[in-house]
């Protein structure tokens, strides 16, 4: 029987027992609301420290308020409202309600038979009322579960709609995203933004909170970020703009952490800024692990924030990992966290990067958390890998472009760079890439003429240019033993402090101007090969 019908029946029964017209009032002590005549059923706000509560919980008898000597605010209120008798409804020792009766119409006192009958009635009705209450409560809980499930479905839909459908295809690069929402759906997202000059915006972000509110803030942040990224070049300026746009509208206590980087795929330049997101890792081809650190407050907290901006110069074989805190904060059965240290060690040991890194990292996480793990938060990864160039091992795969020699004499590097530029004019290299190649040729030729050939007129510097479908190779030959392998990396701060010579920039510039540099020995000749992707 439904709870409302049960109470109606109970009231009819009380009327029948007492043969009185004025109905009693049933007061429920449980909070679950019931659809019933509000004049008859009240929620009773009975304070936990009201002594009447203790009395009701311990008494199986009808309580006559006229004879009650108890310093109880509720008893005083009931008395003032005209209540004469109260009957506790106890089920298995638990107080589930209370019958409250006013004066009899005849103005006669309640007889002891009446009280006995009421007590018996209460004893029978209370368990049925309790069952009805539990059924009601379960229905309410089921409705709540359904509402939450529906909300999660909506949040998941919003997130999945906004995540990129395609991974950008960049020549020489592999980009591998991974996204796995937690059951409750957090506010993680990632994005790829196509920018002018072939540059690519890389976004990874985490909105505080979960469910639909987080998904809505995520949608807003993504739109604002896309708009700012196409108007502003600097990642720091983009984050500052997004922050100022979010602050007025973001709900209280919510904010967004975000790492934003702009990749120039042609030269491996990665400029980045960070709004309070976990630091990204950069593993060089040589096995060194570096952190892409930049300071900045999360988005949406305060207007007028300034963000630091730095840049990394990636080389072929390098890879970068962006990730969300769901990874490093994942717990195992012993409540230990996966942790930054574990992640850093793992990335440092991973030569592969890209899909291989993502797959092995997830396998490592699964080993750490164990099979019975419930994912606590969204996990998002974006792995970026600068692919190594695969060149033909012999001359069979190459097409000859040009070959010439220049006299090894000071300033003749200008001659070399102009002749190379002329020889590759038909390849249609973008202007900036051509300028970079010219600088690399000039610096490599200077080294060859000065160090390899000692500016000797009988030792010309030979330059050979060849290409295949994807690569341009410029080889510069000299008679030397090659550069000093122990040459120190130029450090401007050390140079300004007088700890290094102001010179020594040549090799450093060459490495940053082309996609790869290879040093070989061919017979008696030392060869520096400059590689440019076409």
């Amino acid at each position: 029987m439904k709870q409302g019908s049960l109470i109606a029946a109970l009231i009819q029964r009380v009327r029948g027992v007492l043969r009185r017209e004025r109905p009693p009032v049933v007061t429920e002590l449980v909070r679950a609301a019931i659809p019933f005549d509000p004049d008859m059923v009240h929620d009773l706000d009975l304070a936990p420290n009201d002594p009447l509560l203790v009395l009701l919980q311990s008494s199986h008898n009808v309580i006559d308020l006229a004879n009650l000597r108890l310093d109880s605010p509720m008893a005083a209120r009931l008395r003032a409202e005209g209540t004469r008798l109260i009957v506790p409804l106890l089920s298995q020792g638990e107080l589930v309600g209370m019958l409250s009766l006013g004066s009899r119409r005849s103005e006669q006192d309640y007889a002891s038979d009446d009280k006995t009958l009421l007590a018996n009635l209460a004893t029978q009705a209370a368990p049925a009322l309790r069952v009805a209450q539990l059924v009601n409560q379960q229905r309410a809980e089921a409705r709540e579960r359904e509402r939450i499930a529906q909300e999660l479905k909506v949040a998941r839909l919003i997130q999945q709609t906004l995540l990129p459908r395609e991974v950008p295809a960049l020549r020489g690069w592999t980009i591998t995203p991974y996204y796995e929402p937690a059951r409750e759906v957090g506010g993680d997202f990632y994005d790829f933004i196509s920018l002018p000059n072939g540059h690519l915006g890389l976004v990874i972000a985490d909105v505080t909170d979960k469910g639909v509110p987080a998904a809505l803030v995520m949608a807003t942040t993504r739109s604002v970020l896309r708009a700012a990224a196409t108007r502003l070049e600097s990642p720091a300026a983009v984050l500052a703009r997004v922050n100022d746009m979010l602050v007025p509208d973001i709900p209280a206590n919510m904010f967004v952490t975000c790492f934003y980087a702009v990749l120039d795929p042609s030269g491996g330049r990665l400029r980045y800024a960070n709004a309070g997101h976990d630091v990204a890792y950069w593993r060089t081809a040589g096995g060194e692990l570096r952190e892409l650190r930049a300071r900045g407050m999360p988005l949406g907290l305060m207007e007028g924030m300034i963000y630091e901006e730095y840049e990394a110069r990636l080389r072929p074989g390098d890879h970068v990992l962006l990730y969300s805190d769901g990874l490093v904060e994942a717990h195992n059965a012993q409540r230990e966290m996966f942790s930054f240290e574990r992640l850093a060690t793992f990335v440092s040991a991973s030569e592969q990067g890209g899909q291989a890194l993502v797959d092995s990292l997830l396998a490592e996480l699964a080993r750490f958390t164990g099979a019975r793990w419930t994912q606590e938060d969204d996990i998002t990864l974006v792995a970026v890998r600068y692919e190594r160039l695969e060149l033909p091992l012999d001359d069979a795969g190459w097409e000859h472009v040009a070959e010439f020699s220049i006299t090894s004499a000071p300033d003749n590097e200008r001659l070399a760079m102009e002749q190379v530029a002329e020889a590759v004019a038909d390849l249609g290299l973008p202007a900036l890439r051509l300028e970079r190649l010219k600088t690399a040729v000039a610096e490599a030729t200077m080294n060859a003429m000065e160090h390899g050939n000692a500016y000797r007129a009988d030792r010309p510097t030979r330059i050979n240019i060849r290409r295949n479908a994807s690569t341009l190779s410029v080889r510069i030959f000299d008679y030397g033993a090659g550069p000093d392998q122990a040459a120190e990396t130029p450090d401007l701060e050390a140079k300004l402090a007088g700890l290094q010579t102001p010179r020594g920039w040549g090799l450093h510039l060459i490495q940053h101007m082309v996609d790869d540099v290879r040093v070989n020995q061919e017979g008696e000749q030392h060869v520096v090969e400059l590689i440019v992707r076409l």
């Binding site: 300033d411 590097e413 200008r414 000039a442 200077m446 401007l492 300004l496 010579t501 920039w505 510039l509």
Partner: protein, 119 residues
């Protein structure tokens, strides 16, 4: 190949700044001329020494080393030094070498002088 332009460095004075206008190629042969221009620019104790690269056609790693030398001299003398007029390519080289971290880089003279007047 275009005829190489010899290096030139002319110093122009503004109320609060000395501008070293660079021309031609900055390589090993520019060392003496650049050093003399800097010494001249320092006279009258300007607030700012501005290197204008607008008419520079070529700069190699030796030229970069000369600019590093000027920067070191300016820092030693606690003098402000900035650059302007760099092409996109040489601006990138200033970033790669981190010169841009120690020497503010402006689009042109007006931007640099306006910044100096404001600061």
């Amino acid at each position: 190949m275009p005829t190489p332009q010899p290096f030139e460095a002319n110093v122009r004075r503004q109320p609060r700044a000395a501008i070293i206008e660079l021309r031609g190629e900055i390589n090993a042969s520019a060392e003496a001329g650049l050093s003399m221009a800097y010494t001249k620019a320092e006279q009258d104790d300007p607030e700012l020494i501005l290197l204008n690269f607008e008419h520079v056609e070529y700069m190699n790693s030796t030229g970069i080393a000369l600019v590093v030398g000027l920067l070191a001299k300016a820092r030693k003398g606690k003098r402000r030094i900035a650059a302007c007029g760099l092409s996109t390519h040489y601006r990138e080289i200033f970033e790669i070498t981190r010169l841009a971290d120690y020497m503010p880089v402006f689009g042109d003279e007006t931007a640099a002088l306006t910044d100096n007047a404001a600061g």
